[in-house]
Amino acid sequence: MNFQVYNRELQVGELKIIGVASSSICLVGDAQTIQLAATFDTPAESLIIGPFVPLHPKI
């Protein structure tokens, strides 16, 4: 595949962003490769109802 890009004038007035989070990027410029990965685990077992017990510490 051929990928031809013409970068003409690029001018932005104002950027308003609340949050850049969990392996994200806000880039003013060029990049060659970008790899962003994020995992978020909250399965049913994550909801624990009962007496408060500490998580298993480092043994």
Partner: protein
């Protein structure tokens, strides 16, 4: 490629946290990793030394990137050598994120989050299929005396729940062994 100059007149950021970066200038390699155990408890309680990433697979499982099979011939023509932004206003940059003014050749970033919620058990709450009944801290083989916060908050021995818990002691301990 990567020959354009970035110009930002004004940059305001409030918070940069947890393996995040604000980069002004060019970068060849950027790599960031953030791991988080997010525990929400109904009551304000933290035991101090608890939690270990090795106990949760989300922190060790491989993240498979889709393979690039197609060969791409790229050609860039930068007719204007400047990228211009007058004002950037960002409230927060967090968890292995990047805010950059400039060029970045290779970028890899990874964020892994395990989210756990703990709710207090009321006396007559039935334990559903999805919910795990837990033992009292004294029944676990964890040394809690060293914790900076006392565990008297979970004193259930004198409450009404204690009957409930001791009745369920047999099945719940087998659950924990799993």
């Amino acid at each position: 490629m990567l020959q354009r100059t970035s110009v930002v007149d004004k940059l305001s950021v409030n918070v940069v946290s947890f393996s995040s970066t604000v980069e002004i200038g060019d970068v060849t390699y950027y790599q960031a990793l953030s791991r988080a155990l997010a525990v929400q408890r109904q009551r304000e309680l933290f035991y101090g030394t608890e939690g270990h990433f090795k106990n949760y697979s989300v922190f060790s499982e491989p993240i498979v990137l889709p393979p690039i099979t197609e060969r791409v011939e790229s050609h860039f023509e930068n007719l204007k050598p400047i990228i211009k932004v007058q004002h950037i206003n960002i409230t927060g940059v967090s968890s292995a994120s990047l805010l950059q003014v400039g060029n970045c050749r290779h970028l890899y970033s990874e964020a892994r989050i395990k989210h756990i919620r703990q709710l207090e058990q009321t006396v007559n709450t039935p334990v559903g299929e999805n919910l795990i009944q837990l033992n009292a801290p004294s029944q676990l083989d964890i040394v809690t005396s060293e914790s900076p916060v006392s565990v008297t908050g979970t004193d259930i021995t004198e409450s009404e729940i204690s009957d409930n818990v001791s009745n369920n002691q047999e099945p719940s301990s087998t659950q924990n062994d799993e």
